[in-house]
Amino acid sequence: MESLQTLWMSTGLANFEFGQVVMMLVGCLLLFLAIAKNFEPLLLVPMGFGAILTNIPIAGFSEIGGLLHYIYYAGIDTGIFPLLIFMGVGAMTDFGALIANPKTLLLGAAAQFGIFATLFGAIALNAIPGFEFTLADASAIAIIGGADGPTAIFLASKLAPELLGAIAVAAYSYMALVPIIQPPIMRALTNEQERKIEMAQLRPVTKIEKVIFPLAVLMMTIFFLPAATPLVGMFCLGNLMRECGVVDRLSSTAQNELINIVTIFLGLGVGSKLSADKFLNVETLGILALGAVAFSIGTASGVLMAKLMNKFSQEPVNPLIGAAGVSAVPMAARVANKVGLEANPHNFLLMHAMGPNVAGVLGSAVAAGILLALVGG
């Protein structure tokens, strides 16, 4: 009988706490969004699963000796996993469209206003009782506006690890929602005529430009913002491996097997931060609200900047491509293309939108570096 008692006491049913049940449902919701709604499944499947595992009573996944504990402290607390992902993303990124039309970098810059405005908004939320975001918290939340998962995870793990789970959930959810969030804003800020604008074909870009570009970006980051060099450096390493043409087997591994392995672990590790005490509070609601604001402001400022550029530029600029400046590669560029096709069925903006799209990745990595340098110090 003692054995039966022991058996019962070792069941989950006898040990559940309410918060754990809720968090498991959150994990199931993430799995549902990923599988049925195709919300950034590569990260949300392992992340939702990690959220379930970490909330299992007794099992101790995130306690010393538990699998998720090892994964989190070896890979996320150290920053290694997001940096490796970023290297892989670099190896998958083609800067050709950006180099061919460099002024689209301004669109990628403008869209970062989503980050800094949200930082202000997060501090403003402190006026409401229940919110007590520090500047570091606000910075980690604001980076959601960068629409870049690894950057958000990296910054959150440095500035506000206790908010990491909610920030990652918000970042990836809104990235998946880009096709829903962006089009109304894009339509509201442009008229039919602007959306119909066709853009000049891009010039071909030579190999040497593509090889020098990541090195130049790295050098500039070293000169002006060393705090951003972990992110930018690994990104540029991946891109250099891709473009230099002599280490194709390394580049291929970086953008396939290595990034896949790390993605599984990163998702599990981030999911392990989705525990009741850290997620089930009013701050998470604030983070989710601020994330939506960040994406919207970023989209709007990108579009407005493109309208401004169109006024002053000799070559026509379709304002829709400004929305791609938030990054969320390549989804935002596809959205720009789709909204453009609605207005003008012969207008293919995809390549033109890739410029601001990858510029947005650089822009938010730079913004993350600024926040690390000024707040993280």
């Binding site: 810059a109 202000f120 606000a138 030579t206 002006f224």
Partner: protein
């Protein structure tokens, strides 16, 4: 409330400094591309007759692309050969 207003000031400064910096950074990058890269491209153009299709495949960012080629090629040649033989027998 004093603390909050101080936070506001800091957040505002951060916003201003951040946006200025981002624009400056990416702006310099524009100059770099327009001045340096374009010149480099003129000076070191890509060789005209490059193995284009090959190169494109290698760039597709696809998993097995690079590594397989020889194996694929071998497999395909043998498959095509077999098909050719089978076909020729039928005829």
């Amino acid at each position: 409330m004093d603390n909050l207003s101080q936070l506001f000031v800091e957040a505002g400064t951060l916003m201003l400094a951040g946006m200025v910096f981002v624009f400056a950074f990416l702006g310099i990058l524009i100059l770099f591309i327009n001045i340096v890269l374009v010149k480099l491209a003129d000076k070191y153009p890509d060789p005209i007759i490059q193995p284009k299709s090959q190169r494109n495949v290698a760039k597709s960012g696809n998993s097995a692309t690079e590594g397989i080629s020889p194996a694929i090629v071998a497999a395909i040649s043998s498959a095509v050969n077999q098909y050719r033989q089978k076909n020729s027998k039928k005829k």
